[in-house]
Structure formats: structure tokens, C-alpha cells
Symmetry: C2
Subunit: 344 residues, 2 copies
């Protein structure tokens, strides 16, 4: 796992009015910034992901080629590496960590990109899932700066059904009394709740057909229960702090580019303001970011293209473990990078 760098955000005031004093972004970079500062890609993380979880889409010969591009991967606020419930000192620690919007995430990343590197133009923003939400937000918050966006398996506004799915995830975790309103002891995590959360998530992450075809066997899991324990419970027990998970969940549930200052909740208007050349890639059988939602989104973005990732992997088509889906996404991004940026 690659070490991260730390960018001090100073006193970071959130959209909802809290101020995180001495906040920071953890990030990493791949490749070299060229002299013209014209080869920049920003690639935000997803729900509970860390910068190293994005590396599957980066490599020589791929669209995100560090031989050509300077790729910045900022960790989301709340993910445990950037300022989060788990690493913020009192009084904004743990259950008191302030609510962070997707808009806030991009404000923090914008500070990093401009103040640390003096970057004025971004060739591409891309990301999976909540990373896709951040991608849309970049294009709305900084339309004169972002040339192209390639969100995949995500949306510019969290749908009502998606919010309900997340309510189930949250309720399963917090039903464990050990959670104690977020004031669990450091040494005593609500593991029953985390395991319950994992089992709830398991139904959503992959499609019905993925399970019907026992696709998990190809990943090395020896039974359905082995997949539930080995993959899903293992995933959420792997150092994922419950308060961090709930912080990012709040960000996700409240994702909506229409809440960007100036748009007064009008998501369609925010979509219409996007100047970046857009390739939106939902997955055919994604159960919480269904492709029809993105058909709606794309219909409001000037010149945008919708390209559905075919197959049975559902949301995890964008997670990097399905070679043919990875190839599909990589090809899409290559083609997007070959096009003129929307600001050209």
C-alpha cells in the first residue's frame, strides 16, 4: 500500500457551517506534472475506499497512464486518511464530526490542486460510485477548469431509492448497541453491526445474475457463505471505522450537484451548466445506480454520452475485479481523452 502525502487544509469551513480546524487531505500522485500543467487527472476515492484501492485503473498503456499523465488521487474526507471522525481531535471527533457534502469534498480537493500544484486546468476527472458523484461535482463547481469527466457507476444526485438502500445499511450497523451513538470504545468496535451491514450490502453490490451464475466462485470463494464472510464481512471489518462509514454515508445520501451554491436545489440546471466533455458509464445491472437514472442525467448535460457497461457484475463492474469491465471502462476513458475537452 502506497504511502500518502498530506495537504494541510487549515481551518476548513463546511457548507453546513462547521469549521474543522487544522483539517487535512491525504492524497497521492502518479506520474509527473508537465511544464504546461496540462496533463492532470483527478481521480477521487469511493465509499470507504483508500487511494490504493484506485490503482487498478492506473498503469502504463492504460488510459490513466502515469507515463503521460499526472494523476492525483485525493482521499475523501471521512475515509480515515483525510480528516475523518477517527482521526480528528476533540471536539469535532467521532460522532461529532461535521456533516461533509460532496461540494465540501471538491472544495478541499480544489485547494489541493490549485494551492499545492498551481494547476488551472484538469484534463479529466473520473471516479467510481461516490467517486463518480465527486466527478460530477468537480464539473459543476469548477466548469472553467474541468475539460472532461468520466463518472462510472455513480450519479450526480443520490436517488431516493439509493437513499433507502443506505438507510438499510445504516440501520443494520447502528442496531448494534455497542455502537452507542458513535461513542464506542476504541478497543471495542460494534463488529456485530459491521457484519450485519456487510450482509445487507452483499445483496446490493452485485446483481441477481451475478449470484445466479455463482460468479463469486471465479474469485476464489468456495460457497455463498464463504463469499458473505470472506469477501463482505472481511471487507467491512478491515479497519473501516464505523463513524467514518457513517460520515461518508451521510455525504452519499445527501449528494446532489443541485445543492451547489447558486443552483438553489435545481439539479437539472446544475447538469446543464456542465461544460466538460462527458462520458457517463453506468453498469447495466447496477442495483443502486441504475442506468436509467444516468440516461436522465445525460439528457441534461450538453453533448454528453451515455455508455452502459454490459454484464452481470452490477455496481462492482466499476470496482476493478472484473477484467472485461475494467477494459470497457479503460477503453471509454481512452476515447474520451482523445476527444477535445469541453473548454477547447
Amino acid at each position: 500500500m502506497r504511502e500518502h502525502l498530506t495537504f494541510p487544509l487549515g481551518d476548513f469551513t463546511t457548507q453546513h457551517g462547521a469549521t474543522l480546524r487544522g483539517a487535512h487531505l491525504a492524497y497521492t500522485t502518479y506520474g509527473e506534472l508537465n511544464a504546461a500543467k496540462s496533463n492532470v487527472i483527478v481521480y477521487p476515492t469511493w465509499y470507504s475506499g483508500r487511494h490504493w484501492d484506485n490503482e487498478w485503473l492506473i498503469g502504463s498503456g492504460m488510459a490513466l497512464d502515469p507515463d503521460e499523465y499526472f494523476i492525483i488521487v485525493p482521499n475523501m474526507l471521512g475515509n480515515g486518511l483525510s480528516s475523518s471522525p477517527s482521526n480528528t481531535p476533540p471536539p469535532y471527533d467521532r460522532a461529532r464530526f461535521p456533516r461533509i457534502t460532496v461540494y465540501d469534498q471538491i472544495e478541499a480537493q480544489h485547494k489541493l490542486v490549485t494551492e499545492e500544484f498551481g494547476i488551472e486546468r484538469i484534463a479529466l476527472v473520473t471516479g467510481w460510485s461516490m467517486g463518480a458523484g465527486q466527478t460530477f461535482q468537480w464539473a459543476v463547481s469548477y466548469p472553467e477548469m474541468v475539460e472532461r469527466i468520466a463518472p462510472f457507476c455513480g450519479s450526480p444526485r443520490t436517488s431516493l431509492h439509493n437513499k433507502v438502500f443506505l438507510e438499510g445499511v445504516k440501520a443494520a450497523l447502528t442496531a448494534d448497541a455497542v455502537f452507542n451513538g458513535g461513542w464506542y470504545d476504541e478497543g471495542k468496535w460494534p463488529t456485530t453491526g459491521l457484519r450485519a451491514l456487510a450482509r445487507v450490502y452483499a445483496g446490493w453490490g452485485f446483481s441477481q445474475a451475478f449470484y445466479w451464475e455463482k460468479e463469486y466462485e471465479k474469485l476464489g470463494y468456495t460457497s455463498l457463505e464463504d463469499f458473505l464472510v470472506g469477501f463482505w464481512e472481511g471487507f467491512f471489518l478491515d479497519g473501516r471505522d464505523p463513524n467514518n462509514l457513517l460520515s461518508m454515508l451521510w455525504t452519499w445520501q445527501n449528494g446532489d450537484i443541485g445543492l451547489t451554491p447558486g443552483f438553489d436545489g435545481n439539479t437539472e440546471a446544475a447538469l446543464g451548466s456542465i461544460k466538460a466533455t462527458t462520458l457517463d458509464m453506468p453498469a447495466e445491472k447496477d442495483l443502486y445506480f441504475p442506468p436509467e437514472d444516468e440516461a436522465w442525467a445525460v439528457s441534461h448535460i450538453p453533448g454528453a454520452e451515455l455508455r452502459v457497461i454490459p454484464g452481470i457484475w452490477g455496481h462492482f463492474a466499476g470496482g476493478g475485479s472484473s477484467p472485461k469491465d475494467t477494459e470497457f471502462i479503460d477503453t471509454g476513458i481512452k476515447e474520451l481523452l482523445a476527444k477535445p475537452g469541453g473548454l477547447a
Copy 2:
């Protein structure tokens, strides 16, 4: 709510070898049994449903017309009215209630139908969801007795994905320590766990598009949260005993007509043995009984018809609250009843 009648099952031995001494089925009937005993419809209940929850599909002028048919609605074992964890005396009470298979359910119902009423032929078995599973099981357990089946929004075998969905439901409930392995006090139910279960279920019961269209507003709910609390939490807090819910959940997760004695786990062979004229009606956007699974099932049942309920209600298309879906189902059953039975 209509009172129920009680049929004593005597000492009822389950497929897994437990014996419920002095077990009983709670049931009700509509209409009159004719002299030839040729006008019988059996209409089993669904997950946590009671006989009165089936009444929306019964009425003068409908397919299930009590002026014409003798309609028997047996309550599932485990639903709180028939023998269940909540009403069985020690030692098989509560968390010790034995595991009941779908096969067991139909054995109990067969005793009722034959011993109480002397019925030898059933014109139709129909049911929603787990009621559909029992419908398939009737046709496999008693192929010489069942003339027609109309399962809707259900399946002959619980799919792996459906099992995973139910794992999430179960994990949310049991994450509440008050549940205490099923040994909670009568006066102290794990309501936090029940509410969590309800929120998990909420994402699955209706489709993504149902929420996108805010269809719940047409049902009188004033916001998404009002629907989650008012409908979903209210639903599961309405006297639904947690052990009963888990008993029925086990039955559901382990549903498979291939486990009928004689088929050795071969579901396709069990489907192939069905002699009843079959109309299988899954709902277009059902998230846990998707129509493609039923296309598979129907392909193995001689002469069976697949007819997909169109629209955005998902699984609850078959719950009786969507007038156009109810009409679709009713029309399908009318047409099925007009056809010769498979034993003709």
C-alpha cells in the same frame, strides 16, 4: 379481521425430523364447497401475512369469486396463527421452534384439505411471494390433485441472490442485542432490530423507479421518511414476533421444490413433474424474484405460460395495493381458470 378456524394437525413430524406435538393450522374459507367438491381454490399466505391479508384478491366478480369457488386460505406455519414460535408450548417454543420446509407447509395443508373437507381435486392453487413458493410445492407434492397453478411474484426455488437479500434482513434484526438469540422477554421485543429490518426491507420491496416516481405519495405518505416509518416500520412492528419472522425466513431461504422427497435436489426434474396448467406471473421490476428466474422455471414446466406483470411496483405488484397490478393478476387467473386443468 376475519376470525380463523383451527385444524388440529396432531403430532406433526417435519421433513427435518422434529415432531410438533399438538400442532395446528389456522385457516379460513370463503364461499361454499359444491357437492362434487370440484370448485376448490387454495390460496396460501406470504411472508408474515395472515389470512386476512389475502382478501384483496377475493370478491364477487373477481377470479377468486366466493359465489363460485370454495376458497381455502391456510396460514403458513410460523406466521403466528398456525403453529409458530410464538404460540408453541415448551420445549419447541420460541428459538427452539423446528425448521419448517415449504414441503412441510404443503403436507400440513394437504391434511387440512383432505381430512377436514374430503377434497381430492383442487381447481387452482395461487399465491404471492412465499405463497407462490407454496403454490409450486403443491403442484410437485400432489401432481394428481392440482389442476392449475398461478404463482405470482415468487419462485419454485429461492435463488442465491434472494438468500443474500434475506441474510441482510436477518442480520439487521439479530444485530439488536435485545433479540438475545430469540430468548427476548415477551414484554421486551427487539424493536431497534425490527426497525432496522424494516429499513433493509424497504429498499427491496419496491423498485428503484417506484421511489424515483415517489409513488408512495399516492399511498398517502408525505415524505420518504414518512414512508419508511409509517409504512415499513409500522408494518414490522404490527405484532410480528421476531422468532416467527425468522422461522418463516428460514422456510423462505430454504425453499426448493427439488428438495421434495424423490427428486434428490433436482429442481429441474421437479419442475418437469408438474402436471397442473401453469401461469407464472413475476413482476417486471421485482428485485428479489426477477422475471428472468421465472423464465427459467417456466422453460422446465410442460406447457407453462410466463406472463410478466408490467410496471414499477416491483415485488409489491402482488401485494394488493396497486389497482392496475391487481387487475392484471386477476385477469390472468380468470383466463387460467377458463382453461382445461392439466389433469383433464
